[in-house]
Point group: C2
Chain length 299, copies 2
């Protein structure tokens, strides 16, 4: 089923205790698209500068990511530089050059008008709302956010939360947004703001799915190979939404299964630098790891 994502596309320079990479393809929409493309076709809306190499475009296309919604504008592509240390649960941002992303005015092209599943990656809530309004035929709209918007655009963010069916955010963000320390409480409070389900990501510790009936934990997949956590959260969201779009199943069981896909695909992402392992992953690898995970969790 048609899955649309709106988010950032970037050149990332990353340093971790296991190595470094410069000007690698990154950004929320990049990780999301590649992750979701393992499960369904993806439509990408984003912006890049004139410096964006054709090979990256071809790589998206080779992964069945539709790039007709990609704007190429005068200027340079968004650049992010970050580093990780210790348990690598949090990136230290060393430099940000928004470049063309700073003026991003997302537009859903005519060809994408029938998109039924829409993900609004982290961005300004007012821009997310503008996109949400364009997604007229969407059955399910899910958004991400971050501390910066919770602190600086709180009212607008809460308006957005009243207009989406789901939200994906991390534990710190959930606590900041609600002022509640217990994540189950945070999840319930966020549902009171509008969404029908809330997914709280906890990095290596997995995620919690909160619906009006129940909160369900899904642990992280215990990969022993953690090289670079960049994009793990966006890969998780891509796997989640890809699984929902593929199965067209919004039941609790369907959502739970989708969280597991997100978990598995995120575990692949962190095993290499940038998008390297995600680009190489095959759907059958994901299914195999999911089967192993299902076995691990069966009591």
């Amino acid at each position: 089923m048609s899955l649309l994502v709106v988010g950032s596309i970037a050149f990332d320079s990353i340093e971790t205790p296991y190595g470094s990479v410069e000007n690698a393809l990154g950004g929320s929409a990049t990780y999301f698209s590649l992750a979701a493309s393992l499960l369904t076709d993806v439509r990408l809306v984003g912006v890049v500068g004139e410096d964006f190499p054709d090979e990256f475009l071809r790589m998206f296309e080779a992964h069945d990511v539709d790039t007709r919604g990609l704007q190429v504008t005068a200027g340079k592509t968004f650049r992010w530089t970050g580093a990780y240390a210790g348990d690598m649960n949090e990136a230290e941002t060393l430099a940000v050059e928004l470049n063309v992303f700073g003026e991003f005015d997302p537009h859903i092209p005519e060809e994408y008008a029938d998109s039924r599943f829409v993900f609004l990656a982290n961005g300004s809530p007012s821009i997310q709302r503008a996109v949400r309004e364009q997604a007229e035929n969407a059955e399910l709209v899910v958004c991400d956010t971050m501390n910066y918007w919770i602190e600086t655009a709180n009212d607008e963010l809460k308006r957005l939360l009243g207009e989406v069916q789901g939200v994906v955010l991390n534990d710190q963000e959930a606590r900041l947004l609600t002022g509640r320390d217990v994540l189950v409480d945070s999840g319930k409070d966020i549902m009171d703001m509008g969404p029908e389900f809330v997914v709280i990501k906890k990095g290596e510790h997995g995620a919690i799915l909160c619906s009006h009936e129940i909160c369900i934990p899904v642990p992280g997949y215990p990969t022993g190979v953690v090289r670079d956590p960049t994009g793990a959260g966006d890969s998780f969201a891509g796997g989640l939404m890809g699984a929902i779009a593929r199965a067209d199943d919004l039941s609790l069981a369907g959502l739970k299964r989708a969280l597991a896909y997100g978990t598995i695909i995120a575990s692949v992402t962190v095993e290499g630098f940038g998008t390297s392992t995600l680009e190489k992953a095959r759907t059958e690898d994901i299914e195999e790891r999911l089967e192993e995970f299902r076995e691990m969790l069966s009591l």
Copy 2:
């Protein structure tokens, strides 16, 4: 099957954002015993002072905890004062009075000589080793430890790890003991020190079971009621060992199931102050919550 625990018995004074309690029954062996007693008979080895009230002894006995190994000596019982804030993942210790526990010389009484399952709660590794030596007929000896011993008695702790079959410790301790940030790596390194399995506790995020074949994550049970985390780790260990002793099953499936019991019983402990909810819990409540947990985790 006969399960023996050696550890501390204390009077705890605790403050959390949800209230406070003074001179409540606490200590590692207390939580462990009450937790394990929901699944099997427990034999307690510990020390208290002359100020230890009869009602506490009767409470243990009412829970089928055998207190013939409890030494009552001249002096006062161990006292601990602590507080929790924020997400309550870590206690701040405000005061410690070791009292009679400072001179604790554990002795396994004749009546307990046939104990097949033994848990050495957190304590000096040299004392843990002395107990381990007395546990001649034990089929399974599992120990806990803490940062203090990792830092001040590292060699002795490593000797102990070569003499036990299992170890239960938290994520910080696992990282400190091995110098490895990825928990799966920590688990493997600890197994290289001797144990056949390692359980790494992660507080609200659950635990990881590492065996030589595989590492398996078990998430925390998402209780929305977190009042006082004191004793959660010891309750987890008690549930774990109680389940192992009851089922007499050291297979991977048996250990995984035992981790789930530990998780469930720990979730009951944190729902009230001190041992209050644990004391009231019935085995059927635990089985019911475990069934719910199994359903949550089935993909």
